[in-house]
Subunit: 141 residues, 2 copies
């Protein structure tokens, strides 16, 4: 469903959103906190830097931070940055050019879910997740 790189990225973004926005944080610190492989996470986070979701700074006291307030970062922007939007286009039966005009047998059913998921991911913002985490004392970023 989501690639492991994408899962890592989301967890890292949620973690960052629980910190003051203007602080830089070492990727090493994030990977330690979330128990994720450093180099693999670093690469995914670079992608977010390129998409202007994160800002990075090299060198001593460098690190990464959110480029905007967490209420302005949608989940869909993270997912599409890392995994692309193939899931939201791709046929559930793997048929290359399955489309509305030439649908596969499951096309209609899936179209509905895909739209729902896309809407939900688009509506979901980092700050909501953070609030949820703080309120319900969820420790699993």
């Amino acid at each position: 469903m989501l690639s492991s790189a994408c899962q890592d990225t989301i967890r890292a973004a949620v973690w960052l959103s629980t910190k003051p926005q203007d602080e830089y944080h070492h990727i090493q610190k994030i990977s330690d906190a979330l128990d994720l492989p450093y180099h693999f996470l670093a690469k995914s986070l670079q992608t977010l830097v390129h998409c202007n979701i994160l800002i990075s700074r090299r060198g001593a006291n460098g690190g990464v931070k959110l480029a905007k307030a967490s209420c302005d970062i949608t989940l869909i922007s993270l997912i599409e940055a890392v995994d692309g939007s193939t899931f939201f286009d791709a046929c559930v039966l793997g048929i290359g050019d399955c489309e509305d005009e030439k649908p596969c047998a499951l096309h209609a059913q899936w179209e509905k879910w895909r739209t729902e998921m896309h809407e939900m991911y688009s509506a979901m913002r980092l700050d909501e997740i953070t609030d949820d985490v703080l309120l319900r004392k969820i420790k699993r970023l």
Copy 2:
């Protein structure tokens, strides 16, 4: 979302459900019709034989056929046979022991979808897909 083996299997099952139930069909014929790799498909179909969804016969005039009427075969049985039920258990953020007591940040949202999908897959039967295919002249099995 679904492995390619699972996609192949579903397509093959739908194809078989458009044929008389008592006829054996060569796996080669199915893989030709659906343009799928023969050996890869054969292996997935073997899994269905073990799960009593298909019956196979070796030798001349052998092949595979549905073990029961297509109205008695649910989509979920195909999916779980080939891919297992990990998708319906696994955490969307990939956290090993994410559960109701120790949920991840997206747990609640996902629980809803997972349940919906599971219900939909459980409710969806091969004959419905076939009818859909015949009615709407969908040529993409």
